[in-house]
Amino acid sequence: MEREKIIEVKDLTKSFGDFTAVKSITFDVYKGEIFGFLGANGAGKTTAMKMLIGISTPTSGSATVGGFNVFTQADLVKRNIGYMSQKFSMYDDLTIKENITFFGGIYGLSRKQIKEKIKQVLVELDLEQVANNLVGSLPLGWKQKLAFSVALLHEPKIVFLDEPTGGVDPITRRQFWELIYAEANKGTTIFVTTHYMDEAEYCNRVSIMVDGTIEALDTPKNLKEQFNVDSMNAVFLKLARNIE
């Protein structure tokens, strides 16, 4: 069975002056897949991700995301994906309801749709009691779970998660991954970066970027076999240590 490709990247390159941050990377992501995008600090992950979400124009190569070209249809890319990062997710000084309304509006949902979504999100995350509390007053773990739901408001086919669980307590971190699993189970493609190597094991496939290139891409199981180690942490250390 031929699997449907939802992200297609070919020879994608980004240079800043004479520094090449991303060097001709090529990979595909399939529909409904949880794709882990790993790499050391400074390996080029963020630069690559910025190109895929349509906020940075590549220097050369090609990429389509959800069928849209990142060079010529960046706006359509942005409209059709979900995105959440650890650094910015929601407005602390708006309430939970206001944040959902705001982001629903940004994504072009109708008033009626927004109303339904508010109800749905509050029930799903068990936040009905605190719907009118400021987001800033929520514990980090709750905030991140809510941010994930907000990134999914417009029911995108792909959602990009940039270190979604940094600093979150271990129980909430796992609850967050259960939300990811549930969403992938519905057919949504998940593109996720993380520094927690146990989370790399939860992905269907994992790519590891070293120094601007993709040095490895496979299922966690195959990567461990290939490098003859018993954890993704060891795979990562082996790969990232070998560069000089």
């Binding site: 050391a40 259960e178 094991e201 966690p220």
Partner: protein, 305 residues
């Protein structure tokens, strides 16, 4: 005594950031505060480095009282806050010289202490701190915190957001500092780093859940933990959660960690149950607890109390 904390509490308006915390860190010990964001780690650091006054309790650092002797403490501790706090528009060398001068010393005088770390950033010593990568900023901040040869070193989440390779290197540096006799209090949200400390305090919601050596924390864990695997992790999690005698179910890398309420639990029964739920490639076998297992067990029983 390196650090002594007795019944320290601190609230901000209605939020109890730190609640009746006590612990001691011996001279030359590497002590870890392990807990997620919002656990109260930074508040505790700020109290111990004399930047914040506790509502209740006493604390000493290098045998100085944090309130009465705050000036002596400031001279004898190094503090690396979680947020990068050096001068972005000074170069590496200028930052280091600045901190050395403030403490009445020179880079040369204590060079042996920072040498291991400084040689890694020395090739870029004329670069402004604001232009450094995350890993290099972290190394510079550590050098600046060490330049006056402190007796006690405070490191607030030095490895947060840092990749596994740089994290490993950072902990190797800490080990070498410890060998030089410096008392170190370090906080981290990464449970795997806890194993590298002499002793750790697990902390959540302003309270200490347990203080022990990493080895004992794991050894004292009371449940038998099973690694469970099947072809479909998502449904495996759901099905395990509805197993009648389930005590806890947590995803752990390629396996799910499962504990049962019953002491006479029979793994074969669980295998049968999972096969009936249409799982294939089912595996159930005993495994060892990790610090993260213990943390989650303590945190969930703490919450339900």
């Amino acid at each position: 005594m390196g650090i002594s904390v007795k019944n320290i509490s601190k609230s901000f308006k209605k939020v109890k950031a730190v609640e009746n915390i006590s612990f001691e860190v011996a001279e030359g010990e590497l002590f870890g505060l392990i807990g997620p964001d919002g656990a109260g780690k930074t508040t505790l650091f700020r109290i111990l480095t004399t930047l914040l006054i506790a509502d209740e309790g006493q604390a000493t650092v290098a045998d100085y009282d944090v309130v009465k002797d705050y000036k002596s403490i400031r001279k004898s501790v190094g503090y690396m806050p979680g947020k990068f706090s050096l001068y972005q528009d000074l170069t590496i060398e200028e930052n280091l010289t600045f901190f050395a001068t403030i403490f009445g010393t020179t880079i040369e005088e204590n060079y042996d202490l920072i040498k291991d770390i400084y040689v890694q950033i020395e090739p870029f010593k004329d670069r402004r701190a604001g232009k450094l990568s995350g890993g290099m900023k972290q190394k510079l901040a550590l050098c600046c915190a060490l330049i006056h040869k402190p007796k006690v070193l405070f490191l607030d989440e030095p490895t947060t957001g840092v990749d596994p390779v740089s994290r490993k290197e950072f902990w190797e540096m800490l080990k070498r500092l410890k060998e030089k006799g410096i008392t170190i209090l370090v906080s981290t949200p990464y449970m795997d780093e806890a194993a590298l400390c002499d002793r750790i305090a697990l902390i959540q919601d302003g309270k200490i859940l347990e203080i022990e050596t990493p080895q004992n924390i794991v050894a004292n864990y009371s449940h038998k933990i099973y690694n469970v695997a099947s072809h479909d992790i998502y449904n495996l999690l759901l099905d395990l959660k509805s197993y009648p005698t389930m005590h806890s179910v947590y995803a752990f890398g390629e396996f799910v960690h499962y504990t049962d309420k019953e002491t006479n639990f029979i793994p074969a029964d669980l295998v049968k149950y999972l096969l009936e739920k249409n799982h294939s490639d089912v595996e159930v076998h005993l495994t060892n607890a990790t610090i993260e297992d213990v943390f989650m067990e303590l945190a969930s029983s703490n919450k339900s109390n």
